[in-house]
C-alpha cells in the first residue's frame, strides 16, 4: 500500500537520505532501524509531508504523495507519532482525542452554533470513538485530566490512541518505546500487534529497542548513513554481516 522509491533528501551540502526504498504491504508491520543519525526520522518526515523530498517518489495506494502538504497526507490515512511526545498539553485527554477527529471544520460552523441534530449526532460519534480508544489504551480514568499531567507512558499511549481515532490505514510510529520501562514496552508490543490484527492497520515504526523490533516486525529495513543497508525478515537481518558491522563495528 505504501511504496517509497529512491527517496533522497538533501539539506544544503548534507545528503541526509540517499536513495532509500521501502514498501509496506497491507496487514504488515515494517520496522526501520539504524544507528543514531542514520536518517530514519528524515525518511518519516518526508513520508508524512513535513519535508518535501529532493528526489524519489512516495506512492500511497498508487498515488504520488511526495510534496503534498502534511495535513492532506494525514487525511489520506497516513498518520504519525513523534519521537518526542507531542500532545496538546493544556487540553484534557478527551479533548486531545476529539481534536483528532475534526478534520473538516468548515462544514459544521453554522450547524454547530445552532446545535442541529446532525451536528449532535456527529459529536456523539466522536465522543464514543474517543471513549472506546481510551478504554482500549487504559486511560478512561484520566479522561478529564490535562494531557500534560499524565505519566510519560500514558502520554505515549494517548498519542497512539489519538492517531487511531482518525481511523488511519497506515500508522507511522517514531520510537514508540523510547523512555518506557520493560513492562510498558511489553504492553506496547501487544498494542501494536493488536492494531494490526484487530484493526487492520499497517504499521511502520522506527525503534532502537531490538527486542521489540524483532518480536513484532514482519520485515525490517536497515538504514546507515542515509543509505539502505539491508532489508528482510527479522531472522535475515539478525544474521546479516553488514548489519552486525554497522551496529557493532568491525570485529
Amino acid at each position: 500500500m505504501l511504496e517509497v522509491q529512491n527517496l533522497s533528501m538533501r539539506f544544503g551540502g548534507l545528503l541526509a537520505v540517499d536513495q532509500v526504498s521501502l514498501d509496506v504491504q497491507e496487514h504488515e508491520i515494517v520496522a526501520i532501524i539504524g544507528p543514531n543519525g542514520a536518517g530514519k526520522t528524515t525518511v518519516f518526515n518526508c513520508m508524512s509531508g513535513f519535508y518535501k523530498p529532493t528526489g524519489g517518489k512516495i506512492l500511497f495506494e498508487g498515488n504520488e504523495i511526495q510534496g503534498k502538504p502534511d495535513y492532506k497526507i494525514s487525511r489520506l490515512g497516513l498518520v504519525r507519532t513523534f519521537q518526542h511526545v507531542r500532545l496538546f498539553n493544556r487540553m484534557t485527554v478527551v479533548e486531545n482525542l476529539l481534536v483528532a477527529q475534526h478534520r473538516h471544520l468548515n462544514t459544521n460552523l453554522i450547524s454547530g452554533i445552532l446545535k442541529t441534530p446532525n451536528y449532535r449526532e456527529r459529536e456523539q460519534k466522536s465522543l464514543d470513538r474517543a471513549a472506546y480508544w481510551l478504554d482500549r489504551v487504559g486511560l478512561t480514568e484520566m479522561a478529564n485530566r490535562d494531557a500534560g499531567n499524565l505519566a510519560y507512558g500514558q502520554q505515549r499511549r494517548l498519542e497512539i490512541a489519538r492517531c487511531m481515532v482518525t481511523e488511519p490505514k497506515l500508522l507511522m510510529l517514531d520510537e514508540p518505546a523510547a523512555g518506557l520501562n520493560p513492562a510498558e514496552t511489553k504492553d506496547l508490543n501487544q498494542l501494536i500487534i493488536s492494531l494490526k490484527e484487530d484493526y487492520n492497520v499497517s504499521v511502520v515504526l522506527i525503534e532502537h529497542d531490538m527486542s521489540l523490533v524483532m518480536d513484532i516486525s514482519d520485515r525490517i529495513n536497515v538504514i546507515n548513513q542515509g543509505r539502505p543497508l539491508a532489508s528482510g525478515t527479522p531472522d535475515e537481518i539478525r544474521r546479516n554481516d553488514d548489519v552486525i558491522k554497522a551496529y557493532l563495528g568491525e570485529a
Binding site: Y71, L87, M91
Partner: protein, 422 residues
C-alpha cells in the same frame, strides 16, 4: 547580602538621577530668556524619600516579595476543595443570570453618566471576548486588534455619511467588513508565530490608522467624521425633533415627556444584547470542533497538522471571527460617540484590550468579562487622583500579575462525561 546592598545602592542611584533632573528643576520664563531654577524644598525631600524607599525595598526585596507571595493564603477560598462539576455549573449559570438581570435593570436606577460608562464597558467586553479568541484560544499574539474595531466604526460612519445607511443595516456590514479585513490580514501572517506575528499585526494596526488619518477626502482625516446617527427602534427616533422623513419619535409614540436619557439607555441595551450575543456565540464556538482546533494549534502546531488540521483554515477562522466581533463593537462605539476620529484607534487601545485578556485569564470568558469591567471602571474611580490615576492603574496591573499570573479567573477545562464501554 552584599550583592543585595550593591543592587539596592544602584537602584537608589538610578532613581535619583532619573527623578531629580525631572522633578527638581523648573523652567521659568524671565522676559525673553528662560532660566533653570531649583524647586522648593518639599519636592527635594519627596525625591529623597523616594530614593530611600527604593533603597530599602531593594535591600529587603526577597523578604518583601516572599511575604507578598504568601498573600493568597489570606483568601479563604484558596485552599478549598474544587467544587463538583454539576454544582459549579449550576452556580455559574445562576451567577450569570443574576448578572444579566442586574445589567438590564442597571440603566433605570443609575445616573446618565454611569449608564454611559456601562455602555463603554460593554463595548470593551465585546472587544476583549473577540481578542480572546485570537490570543487566548488560538495563541496568536495580535497587537493590531484595534484596526478591526476602527474598520467597524468607520464603515458605519462612512456608510451613513455617504449613503444614509442606518445603524441596523450598518451593524452586519461593519462586522462583515471587519471580518474581511481579518481574513486579508490573516493570509500574509499565516507562517508567522509569536513575536514576528505580533510585529506584523502591530504594523497592520498602524497602517489602518494612518490611512484613516491621511485619506482626508474620504474620511475627513484627523478631523474625523461627525453626525453619526443614533440607532432607531422600529423607525422611532430618540431625538427631540425627527431628523429623517417617515420616522416617528420615541417619546411622542409612547406619550411621555422627552428625555435625553432614553437614547443613552437604549444604546446601553443594544450594547448589552450584542455583548450577550458575542459571549454566547463564542462560548459555543469554544466547545465546537473549530474551538478545539484553535487550542490545538496553540498547543502544538506540528501535532495539529499531523492529525489533518489545516493550519490555514484554523488560523484564518480565528482571525476572521475575532475581527468580526471587533467590527460589532466598532459600530456600537461609532453610534455611541456620534463622532469618530483616528485618535480613538491608537495602539494604546490594542494594548488595553490585550491587557484585559491577559488580566482576565487567557481563554477564560468569565475572567475576561470581569477584567473588562475592572479595567474600564478603575481609571474612572481613580479620577480624584487626577494625574496619578494611570500610575495607580499601572501599579494595580503589576500587582495583579505578581499575585495571579494566570489571570483573575483562569480558564477551566470543560468536563466531558463519557459513556462507559461495555
Amino acid at each position: 547580602m552584599t550583592a543585595n546592598l550593591k543592587h539596592a545602592l544602584f537602584c537608589a542611584f538610578i532613581t535619583l538621577i532619573i527623578s531629580y533632573p525631572i522633578l527638581g528643576f523648573d523652567l521659568k520664563g524671565r522676559g525673553t530668556s528662560v532660566a533653570l531654577e531649583g524647586v522648593d524644598i518639599s519636592t527635594s525631600i519627596g525625591v529623597l524619600l523616594a530614593v530611600v524607599i527604593v533603597f530599602v525595598f531593594q535591600l529587603y526585596r526577597d523578604t518583601i516579595m516572599g511575604s507578598v507571595r504568601q498573600l493568597p493564603a489570606i483568601n479563604p477560598l484558596a485552599n478549598r476543595e474544587p467544587m463538583e462539576q454539576s454544582k459549579r455549573l449550576k452556580l455559574e449559570s445562576i451567577l450569570l443570570t443574576l448578572m444579566v438581570i442586574g445589567a438590564v435593570i442597571w440603566p433605570f436606577i443609575a445616573s446618565r453618566g454611569a449608564v454611559d460608562l456601562a455602555t463603554l464597558v460593554l463595548i470593551y467586553i465585546m472587544l476583549a471576548l473577540g481578542l480572546n479568541v485570537v490570543v487566548g484560544l488560538a495563541g496568536l499574539l495580535d497587537l493590531g486588534y484595534v484596526a478591526f474595531y476602527a474598520v467597524g466604526a468607520y464603515s458605519f460612519a462612512l456608510l451613513s455619511q455617504y449613503f444614509g445607511i442606518s445603524f441596523w443595516f450598518a451593524l452586519p456590514i461593519g462586522a462583515g467588513l471587519a471580518a474581511l479585513f481579518g481574513l486579508v490580514l490573516g493570509f500574509p501572517v499565516l507562517r508567522l508565530r509569536g513575536d514576528y506575528l505580533a510585529i506584523v499585526t502591530l504594523g497592520f494596526g498602524e497602517i489602518i490608522r494612518i490611512l484613516l488619518n491621511n485619506m482626508t477626502s474620504l474620511t475627513g482625516g484627523p478631523n474625523g467624521i461627525g453626525g453619526i446617527p443614533d440607532p432607531t427602534l422600529f423607525g422611532m427616533e430618540f431625538s427631540r425633533l425627527i431628523k429623517e422623513e417617515g420616522n416617528t419619535s420615541f417619546h411622542e409614540t409612547f406619550g411621555i415627556a422627552y428625555s435625553g436619557e432614553h437614547k443613552v439607555i437604549f444604546l446601553y441595551l443594544i450594547a448589552l444584547v450584542l455583548a450577550v450575543i458575542t459571549a454566547v456565540a463564542i462560548r459555543r464556538l469554544m466547545r465546537m470542533p473549530v474551538g478545539r482546533a484553535w487550542e490545538a494549534l496553540r498547543e502544538d502546531e506540528i501535532a495539529a497538522k499531523s492529525l489533518g488540521l489545516s493550519r490555514t483554515a484554523v488560523k484564518l477562522s480565528a482571525f476572521t471571527i475575532g475581527a468580526f466581533f471587533a467590527g460589532f463593537a466598532g459600530t456600537v462605539f461609532a453610534s455611541k460617540q456620534g463622532f469618530i476620529s483616528p485618535e480613538s484607534f491608537v495602539f494604546l487601545e490594542s494594548a488595553i484590550i490585550l491587557a484585559i485578556v491577559v488580566l482576565g485569564g487567557m481563554g477564560s470568558q468569565m475572567g475576561v468579562i470581569l477584567a473588562a469591567i475592572a479595567v474600564t471602571i478603575l481609571p474612572e474611580l481613580a479620577r480624584e487622583f487626577s494625574e496619578y490615576r494611570m500610575l495607580i492603574f499601572g501599579a494595580a496591573m503589576v500587582l495583579m500579575m505578581v499575585w495571579r499570573p494566570q489571570g483573575l479567573m483562569p480558564m477551566r477545562r470543560i468536563h466531558i462525561e463519557l459513556k462507559r464501554q461495555e
